[in-house]
Symmetry: C2
Subunit: 240 residues, 2 copies
């Protein structure tokens, strides 16, 4: 049976980390909220589950994944669940925990990138927190981008330069691709200045984009373009 991914239909957001894993594996999946309401899908199908008080394991927020009777929420937990099933993680416990640790560090940077445009409240519009956003983004560009990228570069370097874990692709590699892709969209000037200092990170980003299934996905209408509703937003004033 096809996996069912539930995520907001108009943005990449955290759902994109799951989409990339499903696409790389060539897995059958339905991106439920982007399918027609007339088929019983679409956004109402997402909100119906989110608001269903009888759901045994309710997610706090999208994304969540349905696999038959199972529902798994939280991006990193979804990838923990999918990793072995999609052959996107090593077999040993050591490799699985280490891959997950890297994923959680990527998730930390994703949350910080989000908060550059929403430093006060997720419930407020960007326009209502622009002054705070400018301050936060300046520190993110000056301090956090270099700190995180240096750590990813070091992890890649320790492991031979091509993959974050072991000798083949893992879901963490896909997630780092997405993180770098998003940062390049949101902070084109800062990333143009900084990414060359982290050549293995840049090379991994390019290599993932060239993978057959990923390249086909990125060129397809299934890949929602970056926009100013997602995690990575291009506001020139936040790019220094």
């Amino acid at each position: 049976m096809a996996y069912e991914l539930y995520y907001w239909p108009m943005l990449q957001g955290r759902g994109e980390f799951v989409r990339l894993a499903l696409e790389e594996a060539g897995a059958a999946y339905v991106d439920v909220a982007r399918e027609p309401e007339t088929d019983g899908l679409g956004l109402p199908a997402l909100t119906r589950i989110l608001e269903d008080l009888d759901e045994p394991r309710p997610a706090f927020a999208p994304p969540f994944l349905r696999d038959g009777d199972r529902v798994v929420g939280q991006t990193a937990a979804i990838l923990l669940y999918l990793g072995p099933r999609l052959d996107l993680v090593g077999a040993s416990e050591d490799e699985r925990i280490w891959t997950h640790q890297i994923q959680l560090t990527i998730a930390d940077m994703v949350a910080e990138a989000h908060d550059t445009h929403h430093p006060v409240a997720v419930g407020l519009a960007y326009e209502d927190q622009k002054a705070e956003a400018a301050r936060r983004a300046a520190h993110f560009r000056a301090d956090r981008i270099p700190e995180f990228l240096a750590w990813f570069e070091h992890v890649l370097s320790r492991n031979g330069g091509t993959h974050l874990v072991g000798e083949r692709l893992s879901y963490a590699d896909l997630s780092l691709f997405q993180l770098v892709d998003g940062l390049r969209y949101a902070f084109p000037k800062a990333m143009a200045a900084q990414l060359p200092d982290h050549p293995r990170v840049a090379a991994l980003h390019a290599a993932v984009a060239r993978r057959r299934r990923i390249a086909a996905y990125l060129a397809s209408p299934r890949r929602i373009p970056f926009n100013e509703q997602g995690i990575f937003r291009r506001y020139a004033e936040l790019d220094g």
Copy 2:
């Protein structure tokens, strides 16, 4: 061999979620950075590993746990690793993933609680971001505390009211205790007003505090008091 926990010695922080699991299980562990430097421990032992470029699986930040040759970082990944070993998670994959999903949701709220006093940058002092903190904290109290607590209440309610997962204690229960304990410290007025609306969350917090080993731990010098260097800080102006 005893587990070695590496975390900043002067605050509960994210290390506390690991400490509580180890304490509840009665596991042998060394809180490395709090032990004497003259024994080769203390803060220098932590920074030595953090800065060791030859460390095979370097952590981006504390806490990290050493178990023999293995080093695991990221709080939720440490608990994922320890859960089965300390008998603090169910045996089935379903229970383990669900427990982890809850832990990640707790981690999300912990990060948001932290950012109430550091909405601009972790590298700046609170005094340099007080205006932004006041705005963020007001939204956190008004919107996020009720949203998260309602979700935990619902999960408890769906599961019979006593534990978050299954019929016995898991590391997620211990982490929810710590989250509520921290919120009560940081936002005494807001929590006094709101916690009664979530009676199962309040009852779980009280029940965990009464557990034999947890009660002994909380009364011991091993429990660092809450203070204004940790995640949960009591600044009256942020409590409305």
